[in-house]
Amino acid sequence: MLACGRLQPAWTLAGIFAALSSRLGGDTEPLDEPSIQRLVEQARSGDRIAAQRLYRQHVDRVFRVVRGVLRSNAEAEDVTQDAMLTVLTSLDSYSARSDARFAAWVTSIALNTARRRFRRRRPELTATGELPDVVDEHAEPEGAVDTARERAALLRALAELGPTEREIVSLRYGAEINASEIAEIVKLEPTNVRKILERTRERLGARIEALLKQGAFI
């Protein structure tokens, strides 16, 4: 059924190549904003391949942000799923702006979804983080251990931050959006966001370095 709804785009050669490309992981290269906006327009007019490409362009970013805010991978997985569904079903309510990228809109939906989850069940952030449930089989074992150690250090350092600081750094480093875009999402002045970012980056960086030196995670 997936390929039959709007046959025009799906059955063209370009559509078939796009489908193959996304199946083979060809959507992992980040697209520029004009390309993203084109995908939004195509997805709005019913092009499912475009919707899938939009999904694949943003899903990891959303997961990185919500994982920084929530306590576990399982919660991050649920929230990412809900947020991406909201994104794909609310494209008609999105209006393009020159001062904020599409990613900022997606991320604001993700953060609001995470906040609702936070309110429903007050999470205790993981103190130690957790190992990934699947280690990349192609990665060197040593590299996988390093990644797990860094991840655990980051999660522990994040757990020691206040909720607003955690949200702001997660948006900055997880979604890679700028201070003005963050300010709009967290409803603060951009200057305040920049100050918080500066202060938190120093604190977070120092804490992560200290934790990695201790090396007490694994």
């Binding site: 709804g5 046959l7 799923q81 991406m84 990349d136 997880g174 960086g205 992560i208």
Partner: protein, 79 residues
């Protein structure tokens, strides 16, 4: 730590391949489950390609009719 180093560190929070596949399956499953009706799809097909689309729609409607109990009853009456 620099901005770039912290950004790089955040990559460690990405979902595992298994988590990524689970999320994708659930999202795309839901999107497919909320697809448009067959009639809407036929209309879209005709809009996209009026001549070829009409032929395909007629063929699929006929095959649906012939394979359904309504089709069996109709054909047995006609015989």
């Amino acid at each position: 730590m620099t901005d770039a180093e912290i950004t790089e560190l955040w990559v460690t929070l990405e979902p595992s391949p298994r988590e990524r596949a689970r999320i994708e399956n659930r999202v795309l499953e839901w999107v497919e489950a909320s697809e448009t009706s067959l009639v809407t799809e036929w209309l879209d097909l005709i809009k996209a390609n009026p001549i070829g689309g009409l032929g395909l729609v007629a063929a699929s409607a006929l095959s649906l009719l012939m394979l359904s109990p309504v089709g069996w009853i109709a054909s047995s009456i006609l015989r």
